[in-house]
């Protein structure tokens, strides 16, 4: 009983600062995993455009606790992850883009990716498995979220593009 009351107290107390993340749950239609290397599409410009887009595991929206999500803001499009002890300010970084600060011309693709951060795909797959069984969302602590979210790297992406073109 004491444990239950503690849990309920924490759940209520942490609602004061709490965010909900809509995470992309499906592969983009131009996912490189679905398009063999060496096709006629494989140019630097096209590959840069593919990397720019949002892919599975990337956070599309950060909203306050209690958000009324749309009818289609759910699988297969999205999973909703709740982070009870995170603020909107803390979570807003997850929707920031990845910028190439070394780009020479502004007209070049200074924006390398729409989202700098992403959840691991296995996290999304687990959430999809649990969806509708345990609940309509996944709850993570701020520490858990920080532990499983990953940051893209401009240099690494450029190297991936080069490697792809060499195939």
């Amino acid at each position: 009983m004491r444990i239950l009351l503690t849990f309920l107290f924490l759940l209520i107390a942490t609602q004061a600062q709490s965010v909900e993340l809509a995470v992309k749950a499906k592969e983009h239609w131009q996912s490189l995993a679905n398009i063999p290397a060496g096709t006629t599409q494989d140019t630097i410009a096209w590959l840069k455009d593919v990397w720019l887009q949002k892919h599975k595991g990337e956070i599309v929206a950060v909203m306050p606790n209690g958000t009324t999500w749309g009818r289609l803001d759910a699988p297969p499009n999205y999973v909703i992850i709740k982070v009870p002890n995170a603020t909107m300010g803390q979570a807003s970084k997850y929707i920031s883009p990845l910028i190439d600060t070394l780009a020479v011309n502004e007209s070049d693709s200074v924006r390398v990716k729409e989202r700098r951060w992403h959840f691991l795909r296995k996290v999304v797959d687990s959430a999809l498995t649990l969806w509708g069984i345990d609940s309509s969302y996944v709850i993570l602590t701020n520490a858990q979220a920080v532990n499983i979210v990953r940051e893209y790297n401009v240099t690494a992406i450029k190297q991936k593009i080069i490697n792809r073109l060499r195939q």
Binding site: V60, G70, R71, L72, D73, S92, I95, E106, S107
Partner: protein, 346 residues
């Protein structure tokens, strides 16, 4: 034989008709999606390959801002494209509405697009940038053949703020019309990198450094109001389809290398708006842009806020003042008097 001929006709005819257009709704509660961004990332696709036309319809009142929209990851063409349109209470009008109408607000990119043929209609977009970072309220990037119409772009004090940017017009003219652009210290509308004849008609630009920046890239500027704008037009406009019928409180509008441009321009004009201090850019009754514009009804007849330019005379700027019918009361009195004259009681 008749059956075979009918079947053959159907096999040929059916593929020629595109798939039915589909609309997804966006609102804070009770719609398909809670934000435009969520709609974008749920439905991005190769529209020509799927033979589809999509619309994101933004509805109802919005108590909160959307914090930036980025349209990326599509393929579109001239007949199969995405339209993002705000309707009803969500739609932009001649007064900036930060309480009820839809608005996307962000520091550097409130609305960014990288896909050709996108149509954006009736949204508000505002930047909060106050420093020197490049910020564009509605940015079509380098995407050609886009349309931005009936929108309200609100800048800030940042030194590199642009209201509407078209980076590439493409081989078919892009369209920028009926937009209100305010508070953009760098540029109101930038079409200097666009090619193919971007038409920038019936826009209202207020408190900006450069009103419209064009270049030797076929920009056309007509029926546009420039108020509190340092340089209304910068760069070389289209030299065959002339820029004309514009309006300003400045003493002149300079069209570089285009001596034939500027016919019908109204210069040194007084404030035409209802209340700039309240961000109300409706045309005041009796103001000089009313009925003074070039008739562009061959291209369009709409105005900001869902209005239609129906009185046969284009106002300049984004707003169209719809006057009340003339003589209504007098007609009623006239009829009453006629009946009295003939002894008929009414």
């Amino acid at each position: 034989m008749r059956y075979l001929l009918t079947l053959g006709f159907l096999l040929i005819a059916i593929p020629c008709f595109p798939q039915a257009a589909r609309t997804y709704t966006v609102c804070e509660s009770g719609c398909d999606h809670a934000t435009v961004q969520l709609a974008d990332d749920a439905h991005d696709q190769d529209l020509p390959a799927n033979d589809s036309i999509l619309t994101f319809e933004i509805q109802n009142t919005w108590t909160s801002d959307e914090t930036g929209v980025s349209i990326v990851g599509w393929t579109m063409d001239a007949t199969r494209f995405l339209t993002i349109t705000a309707v009803g209470a969500a739609r932009a009008g001649a007064t900036y509405d930060g309480t009820n109408a839809y608005r996307t607000v962000a520091t550097t990119a409130p609305f960014f697009n990288s896909e050709s043929f996108l149509v954006v209609d009736g949204i508000q977009a505002s930047t909060t940038e106050t420093g020197a970072t490049v910020a564009r309220c509605i940015d079509m990037g380098s995407a050609p053949n886009c349309t931005v119409k009936n929108c309200f772009a609100k800048g800030s004090t940042g030194s590199n703020v642009t209201g509407i940017n078209f980076g590439a017009g493409g081989t078919t003219a892009g369209v920028i019309r009926n937009n209100i652009v305010i508070d953009c210290p760098l540029k109101g509308i930038d079409i200097s990198a666009a090619i193919g004849g971007v038409k920038a008609d019936n826009n209202t630009i207020e408190n900006c450094g450069i009103g419209v920046e064009t270049n030797t890239q076929d920009g056309i500027i007509r029926n546009t109001i420039f108020f509190n704008v340092t340089t209304p037009v910068s760069g070389v406009p289209n030299l065959t389809t002339l820029s004309e019928e514009n309006w300003t409180d400045n003493a002149s509008i300079t069209y570089t290398s285009c001596g034939s441009c500027g016919a019908g321009d109204q210069l040194s004009q007084p404030d035409p708006f209802v209340a700039i201090g309240s961000e109300n850019y409706s045309l005041a009754s009796g103001s000089t842009p009313i009925d003074a514009g070039k008739d562009l009804s061959a291209d369009f007849s709409d105005a900001i806020g869902g209005k239609t330019r129906t009185d046969g005379f284009f106002d300049k700027g984004a707003d169209e003042l719809i006057a009340a019918p003339v003589g209504g009361d007098r007609v009623l009195i006239r009829i009453g008097m006629m009946f009295w004259h003939y002894g008929i009681e009414i």
